[in-house]
Every structure is written in structure tokens, then in C-alpha cells.
């Protein structure tokens, strides 16, 4: 308990310092939210394993360390330093963030269709206040989640993507959040706001990576507003450094007949918690959540998804797969709520796990709350090992044991790769995954 207090005190001091640094740039409306969020953070405190939502994930390692707000290091890095994390080369818009702060020199924002805005969150607070303010003010999720509260209290920069109605952005938008080594363990709090208006289409890739080895804490919040009949393809590639802590919350609100597809690939980090909350808030909306988590060593990866069927005739498909080696552990918690009015809901949830070691473990929990009576909801979870028959078949054809294991493990993940519709991104993910798997085995 004393540790907890000490840690909260560290954040209190940091928040006071943060307020002082904002001097002059203090945006009154925004600062009221920050203060309210910090207060809420203080009230909630860090969760323990007694909290229902954190039953299998112990955040004590995060709580123990007095993280300092990260400082950005502009000008020290060149494009070639970050090239290994680039997803779609020269063809797409790429915004680069160092420790949560936008780096203009490393970013490429090409010619964009009329009305489209792809700018830093900090810039949007001034330039697009009319769009940003109501959404930020209306976002009250910090009241229920302590990590979102922490992010909101310190929020200063990140990305703002605005696609006006009737606009199709063909090239994907890559948001690359990099953490660099800092003198002291640092926390960065990227905040991303994505607004896709009616009848529009966009593909967003969010990447999180560590440029250097070392301990840091990335605590991001991404909010997506998908308008009526819009199409949003969302990729999240988590490649943090081995010692890093990564907590990410994605909140999606979907309008009528909109389609949201999420592809979440989690490879790095020592302690990872990823929340995806989707609100199907218009009739006929559809969401698809695909996830792949790969862990080794003593990594712990926790995926919490929540899909709220608030309106009728919506569908959700969810497929999460885990590959766990050594003494790694993972959590999958899939919550599906079907509200009373959400008739004709069609929801399907699947979680499959491949355990490559006797010491690896998975806790998988479906949570279905169905209040409507005319719905179709299915869920299933599997936990298994590599198939001996398949392994022998490959070896009997001359393929070496380790290569055969890699091939079968890769095959386990392949249906998630096949779901990636943008070819260059698929190739990149493919490469990253193959590289990771061949090192695992």
C-alpha cells in the first residue's frame, strides 16, 4: 500500500510540474478536463488482482516504478534510424511520434484530398478546436478506467485524423509511436483522435515500438468515431522493447451501417494490456476484431475486448489467436453486450491458443450479456499444442525439426494474415511475424 501511495505521489508531483510547464499555453477547457482526469486517477488508484477486470494481470511492476513524463528528443534521429519500423514505405502518409510528441522532421504527410486533416493532436487543439473540443469534452471514459484517466490528465500530443464526409483515402495512414531511451524510466501518453464522417473510408495503421532497449511505459488512448456508412480499417502493431510496459485503449463508436475492422498484432513488451471497446451505435453496423498475440520469455499479454450491441441488426465477428512460448502468459477476455433493443444481433467470438511450452499459460474468458431475445451469439475457445502428426509429416519430407515447428506455428497464424486486405501491410506483417517466430523456435 505504501508503494501505491508513493507511486501516486510521484504522479502528483509530475502533474504539478506538467501544469507549471503549460504556463501560457494553458487551454482552459482542456485543462479542466486534465484536472478532472487527474482527480479521477487519484480516486481510482491502480487496480489490483482483486479487481474483476484485472483478475489475471498484475500491474504491480508498473506501479512500483516512479515513471517521469517522457521528454521528446527532436533532431537527434533521422529517417534511416526508424526505417525498420516503417510499414508502407514512401507510399503512405506517415506521422512519427517520439515519446508521444509529434516529430515533423521524421514525418511525411503528402498531398491530401480536400478537407482531410492529418495533423498532430497538439496542433489540432488550436487549429481544429471546433472539431476536437466537443469530442474530447464528451469523452468520459477516463471516469471508469484508471489508465485512460492517467492518459487524459497528461494528454498533450498524438495524432488527429479527420476524414470529411464522402471522402475515400486510398493510401493508408501510418501513425508510428516510438519510444527512445530516457535518463529515467519514462511514461508517454499518446492521444489519438480519428474522425471518419459519413460515407468515408480510411485505413489507419498504429505502430508502437521501442527504438532502444530499456524500460519505459507507453499508455495510449485512441478514439475512433466512424460515421454512417463509413469504412474504417484499423491496424495496431505492437512491437515495444522487451522490457517495456504497454497499455493501450482503443474506443470505437460506430454509426449506422458503418464497418470497422481491427487487426491487432502484439509481439513486444514485458507487460501488455490492450483494450478495445466498440460501441455499435447505429442499426446495421458491423465490426470485425482480429487479434494475434505472440509471447515468449516471461512476457504477459492481456487482451480485453468489449463489443456493445446497442442497436438492432448489427454484427460482430471476433477472432483472437495466441502463440505462447517459454514461461509467457496471456489473457483473453471477450465481452459482448446485447442490449434490449438490439434485436437481430449476430455475434461470433473465437479465441484459439497454441502453447509451445509446458510453462506457458492462457486465461480465456468469454463474457456474454444478452438482454434481447432474437439474437445469434456464439463463442468458443481452444487451447492446444503443435500437432505431432503434422510435425512428423513435414520432417519426413526433409524439413528440419525447428523449421517444421516454425512453419506450423506460422500456419496457425495464417488466417489472421489473410484477413489483412492491404497488400503492402500484409507483406510487412508477414515479414515481422516470420522473423519473430523463427527467433522464438
Amino acid at each position: 500500500m505504501s508503494e501505491l501511495l508513493q507511486e501516486k505521489n510521484a504522479y502528483s508531483a509530475a502533474f504539478a510540474q506538467f501544469e507549471r510547464r503549460l504556463n501560457g499555453k494553458k487551454n482552459v477547457w482542456l485543462h479542466e478536463i486534465r484536472k478532472a482526469a487527474f482527480q479521477r486517477f487519484d480516486e481510482l488508484g491502480f487496480p489490483t488482482m482483486r479487481d474483476e477486470d484485472w483478475r489475471f494481470t498484475d500491474v504491480a511492476p508498473i506501479v512500483k516504478i516512479p515513471f517521469q513524463p517522457a521528454i521528446s528528443v527532436p533532431g537527434l534521429l533521422t529517417i534511416s534510424d526508424i526505417s525498420r519500423f516503417t510499414v508502407c514505405e514512401a507510399r503512405c502518409t506517415q506521422m512519427v511520434f517520439l515519446n508521444g510528441t509529434y516529430s515533423e522532421s521524421l514525418s511525411t504527410v503528402k498531398y491530401l484530398p480536400k478537407g482531410v486533416q492529418i495533423i498532430s493532436f497538439a496542433a489540432a487543439l488550436d487549429k481544429s478546436r471546433d472539431l476536437v473540443e466537443p469530442l474530447i469534452t464528451g469523452s468520459i471514459s477516463y471516469r471508469e478506467n484508471v489508465f485512460t484517466a492517467l492518459n487524459t490528465a497528461f494528454m498533450a500530443d498524438g495524432a488527429f485524423v479527420y476524414i470529411p464526409s464522402g471522402t475515400v483515402l486510398k493510401e493508408p495512414v501510418h501513425l508510428l509511436f516510438l519510444s527512445t531511451s530516457q535518463p529515467e524510466p519514462a511514461i508517454s501518453v499518446p492521444r489519438t483522435l480519428i474522425v471518419v464522417e459519413d460515407n468515408s473510408q480510411v485505413s489507419i495503421v498504429e505502430s508502437y515500438a521501442g527504438l532502444h532497449k530499456g524500460l519505459y511505459f507507453s499508455n495510449s488512448v485512441t478514439e475512433i468515431h466512424a460515421g454512417a456508412n463509413s469504412l474504417v480499417d484499423h491496424y495496431k502493431l505492437q512491437r515495444e522493447s522487451e522490457e517495456a510496459f504497454h497499455v493501450a485503449t482503443t474506443r470505437v463508436s460506430q454509426g449506422r451501417d458503418s464497418t470497422y475492422t481491427s487487426h491487432s498484432l502484439s509481439l513486444g513488451g514485458s507487460l501488455v494490456r490492450s483494450n478495445i471497446n466498440v460501441l455499435l451505435d447505429g442499426a446495421g453496423a458491423a465490426c470485425e476484431l482480429n487479434g494475434l498475440y505472440v509471447a515468449k520469455g516471461r512476457q504477459h499479454v492481456d487482451n480485453h475486448t468489449a463489443i456493445d450491441h446497442a442497436k438492432p441488426n448489427c454484427s460482430s465477428r471476433e477472432l483472437y489467436k495466441g502463440i505462447l512460448d517459454d514461461a509467457s502468459s496471456a489473457v483473453f477476455n471477450g465481452r459482448i453486450v446485447v442490449r434490449r433493443d438490439a434485436q437481430k444481433t449476430n455475434a461470433r467470438q473465437t479465441n484459439k491458443n497454441l502453447l509451445l511450452s509446458k510453462n506457458a499459460s492462457i486465461n480465456t474468458t468469454p463474457q456474454l450479456e444478452i438482454l434481447a431475445d432474437d439474437v445469434k451469439c456464439t463463442h468458443g475457445a481452444t487451447i492446444g499444442q503443435l500437432n505431432e502428426e503434422e510435425l512428423f509429416y513435414l520432417r519426413s519430407r526433409g524439413i528440419e525439426n525447428n523449421a517444421a515447428k516454425t512453419l506450423l506455428t506460422y500456419a496457425f497464424a495464417s488466417e489472421l494474415l489473410a484477413a489483412v486486405k492491404i497488400k503492402p501491410i500484409q507483406c510487412q506483417i508477414d515479414l515481422v511475424l516470420l522473423n519473430r517466430l523463427s527467433r522464438t523456435l
Binding site: 505431432e388 512428423f392 520432417r395 519426413s396 519430407r397 526433409g398
Partner: protein, 256 residues
């Protein structure tokens, strides 16, 4: 090239092979026939190195080396091929990728240059004709959703691609209709060479109408009870396994 001496093997604690003796030389085709449970498939799996099959006694020498201490992949790289009785489905791995990986693994081991995707495609298409295999099967996952006949053709196709020195075909003929059987037999015949040996493990004499073996061995209760030329298969067809066994019992009685 292959010398099996007094081979005893068990699986799950059950003794299946009770002293097998067999010598195979380059260019020869041997048929091993026997009723269900006689140990035919066990023999094939022991030779290919399947885990879980325990050899309690005896030796197997292949090209001068002790075969039984080799890893399954090394056996394949040294030229042994097992055609599976029940080919395994592997979702998510394309047939093409699988075979290219296998071939290159074998080539690399033998000091040959690896084949690139284009060269492999040309090479594989040539081999596909041998077994009249549909090209579309190449891009599908290994054996996934293949019919019984397609799976067996795929085994012979793999053999054609990997060009083994010793092929062991475990009941490749079982469950095939006459058309598929003829295609498989045609493929096997086309792959007969002076420097390649084959062991056909089969339950039925039917395959031997199309692939004529040099030697036929009858396996009963884990022992080769009778060996002979191709006519032995016909005798077997007439008398059945029990007939052969009765003959042997009678002979033993006379001898003693």
C-alpha cells in the same frame, strides 16, 4: 542399400515386429503384403523414424549408416521417402511452399544449390503431369479438403519431386477407385529406376497387377513368413493369408 536384421519393435507397449529380416538393393521393387495388424505400417513408420515406435532389438543399415539413430528429416535428406497411408492435412501451409521448402532442405543438405520459386514452379509442373494432378491443388493447403484419391496422388507427386533413393509406399493403393489406382501405378512405374529402390506395403494384390514387383514378402504377426517372386502375390490372391499360413504350419509339421 537397406539391410534390416532381426528387427523387433513395439508401440504403446505392444510388441508388433518380431524379428524382420529384409535386404533391398538399388533398382529393386519389393512388395510387402500382409493382413491387418501384421505390422506392415509399423515397419514403414520405423523406417521413416516416427516417434513412439520403440526398437527393442535388431539393426537397420541404410547406405552403410545406422538408420535407427538418424532423425526423420535426415533420413529424408539421405534419400528415404515415406508415402503415408493417411496423408496429413496441414491447414495454412500451401502445398507449393511446403514442397519447395522440403526440396530445398534436401538439396542444401546434399550440397546442391537451392531452387528459386520460378525454377521450382517449372520443375513441379513437369512432375504434376506424371500423376495427372490438377495445378490448382498446388496453391491449396497441404492435403486440406483433398479427396482420398487426390491425397494419394499428392504423395506420389511429392515422391516425384523429391526423387528419393528409397521409397516406402504405405498402402498407397488403399481406398482408391480403379482410375485413381491406375494413375498412381503409372506414376510409380515412371519413377522406377536402376538406382532407386521401392518398398510397396499393401493389403491387396490389385496394385501388383499394375506395378510388377521383383520380390514379394508375406508379413504375418510381425514376421516375414514367406518370400518369393511376383507369382507369390497371385498365390496369395488365390489362397488368402490363411491359406499361406496353413501351408506353412503343414510344412513345419512335416519338417519336425
Amino acid at each position: 542399400m537397406l539391410d534390416i536384421i532381426d528387427l523387433h519393435a513395439s508401440v504403446d507397449g505392444n510388441q508388433i515386429l518380431h524379428g524382420i529380416n529384409l535386404s533391398v538393393h538399388p533398382g529393386e521393387v519389393h512388395a510387402i503384403m500382409g493382413p491387418n495388424g501384421s505390422g506392415k505400417s509399423t515397419l514403414a513408420k520405423v523406417l521413416a523414424g516416427r516417434e513412439g515406435y520403440i526398437v527393442s532389438c535388431g539393426t537397420v543399415t541404410y547406405a552403410g549408416d545406422d538408420l535407427l539413430t538418424m532423425l526423420p528429416e535426415d533420413r529424408a535428406r539421405k534419400g528415404i521417402f515415406l508415402g503415408f497411408q493417411y496423408p496429413v492435412e496441414i491447414p495454412g501451409v500451401s502445398n507449393m511452399y511446403f514442397l519447395k521448402t522440403a526440396l530445398n532442405s534436401i538439396r542444401k543438405y546434399n550440397g546442391l544449390e537451392e531452387m528459386d520459386a520460378m525454377d521450382f514452379l517449372v520443375y513441379a509442373k513437369e512432375k504434376m503431369k506424371l500423376v495427372e494432378m490438377d495445378e490448382s491443388l498446388m496453391n491449396r493447403a497441404v492435403n486440406e479438403g483433398f479427396s482420398g484419391g487426390e491425397k494419394k496422388r499428392n504423395e506420389v507427386f511429392q515422391m516425384a519431386v523429391l526423387e528419393p533413393k528409397l521409397a516406402i509406399l504405405d498402402e498407397t493403393d488403399s481406398g482408391l477407385d480403379i482410375d485413381a489406382l491406375q494413375v498412381v501405378a503409372k506414376g510409380v512405374n515412371a519413377l522406377r529406376r536402376f538406382d532407386r529402390a521401392m518398398i510397396l506395403v499393401t493389403h491387396y494384390q490389385r496394385l501388383l497387377n499394375y506395378v510388377v514387383p521383383d520380390y514379394v514378402h508375406v508379413l504375418v504377426n510381425g514376421r516375414i513368413v514367406k518370400s518369393g517372386g511376383k507369382d507369390l502375390a497371385l498365390e496369395l490372391e488365390k489362397k488368402g493369408y490363411t491359406g499361406i499360413e496353413d501351408d506353412l504350419t503343414r510344412q513345419q509339421a512335416v519338417n519336425s
